[in-house]
């Protein structure tokens, strides 16, 4: 009994194996082309996607390089602007300092000049005041001391002077 069962089982298994092989063969026969086409297409799509991604990456890299170059240029420009502005500021400061120094020296000279002029003016004013005083004193003295006789002598001597002058001119 046990032998009958084993044979039956082998038979059954071989039948099913045969069926399976047939099924696989049918499957292989019918599905071999579409599956290979599918996978070829699939691999093509993946390859295209990879190429597109590569292109995008390349473009992005290119743009990145361009932008970083521009950024570098901008950095350089900013640096040069900073330098030139620093130079301008320094030269302006120098100019202002020079102007201030020259103004100070001019003011010093002017002040010295003004002081000299003022002292000369005061000197001449004092001298003039002294002369005026001396003349006033002389006037008063002469008024007191001048007699009619002396005045007549003065007139006679001046008329003689005028006579000489008129004769020499004529």
């Amino acid at each position: 009994m046990e032998e009958i069962n084993t044979v039956a089982q082998l038979k059954f298994a071989s039948q099913h194996l045969f069926n399976l092989i047939c099924f696989i063969g049918i499957l292989y026969y019918f599905l071999r082309k579409p599956v290979s086409v599918f996978f070829v297409n699939r691999s093509k799509n993946i390859e295209e996607s990879i190429n597109t991604a590569k292109n995008i990456i390349d473009e992005a890299q290119q743009k990145y390089d361009e932008n970083s170059m521009k950024i570098n240029q901008l950095d350089n420009e900013v640096t040069s602007i900073n330098k030139s502005s620093e130079n301008i500021v320094e030269s302006k400061i120098d100019d202002i300092n020079n102007n201030a120094n020259s103004m100070v020296s001019m003011i010093e000279k002017d002040t010295e000049e003004i002081i000299k002029l003022e002292s000369n003016k005061i000197d001449s004013q004092i001298r003039s005041a002294m002369i005026q005083k001396a003349i006033k004193i002389s006037e008063n003295d002469l008024k007191q001391k001048l007699t009619e006789e002396k005045d007549e002598e003065l007139i006679i001597s001046y008329l003689a002077e005028v006579k000489k002058d008129v004769i020499s001119n004529s």
């Binding site: 002369i131 001048l146 003065l154 008329l159």
Partner: protein, 172 residues
């Protein structure tokens, strides 16, 4: 004033054979006329105004200078020449012109004080220089202190003490 007209006028006077005495009379009349017109504004305005006739003006002038015919003729000629206004405004100029014809010299003397003796001294001194035909006017100005200031026609001589002091002041 048109100097050409005035010169023509004086040429007419000198060439018309007017004697020295007549010119002296004219000179005195112009002096009187000048004094009155400078002091009396109404007379000056009347004589200066052209709307009044020459006869009326001559009547007024006669009242001022008197009835001396030579002087009246002179003023008539002045009116004929149309230079009466010039005479009123610049009488000293006319007097100077007549003085130069008469060889007369006008001297203004300024002294600090005046007495007979001093006047004689000055007069004598001036006559020695400019001759005897002088018209001397004395003025007293105590501010000159002493000495004398002379103005002989247009010339100015300062022999005063104040003048000398001013000179010293200017030099210093």
């Amino acid at each position: 004033m048109s100097s050409a007209t005035v010169n023509d006028f004086f040429q007419a006077i000198t060439s018309s054979g007017t004697s020295k005495d007549d010119l002296n009379i004219i000179y005195d009349s112009v002096q009187k006329f000048s004094e009155v017109t400078s002091k009396n504004k109404d007379v000056k305005v009347f004589l200066s105004n052209d709307i009044y006739p020459a006869e009326s003006k001559i009547d007024v002038i006669k009242d001022i200078i008197g009835e001396k015919q030579q002087a009246i003729n002179f003023f008539k000629t002045i009116i004929d020449f149309g230079i009466l206004n010039d005479l009123i405004d610049s009488s000293e100029f006319f007097l100077k012109k007549i003085r130069s014809i008469l060889s007369k010299v006008k001297v203004k003397v300024v002294v600090s004080s005046l007495n007979q003796r001093k006047e004689e001294i000055v007069r004598k001194g001036l006559e020695e220089i400019w001759g005897t035909d002088l018209e001397i006017d004395f003025f007293i100005d105590e501010d000159i202190i002493g000495g004398v200031i002379l103005q002989v026609e247009d010339k100015f001589f300062d022999g005063s003490i104040s003048g000398k002091l001013k000179q010293i002041n200017n030099i210093i």
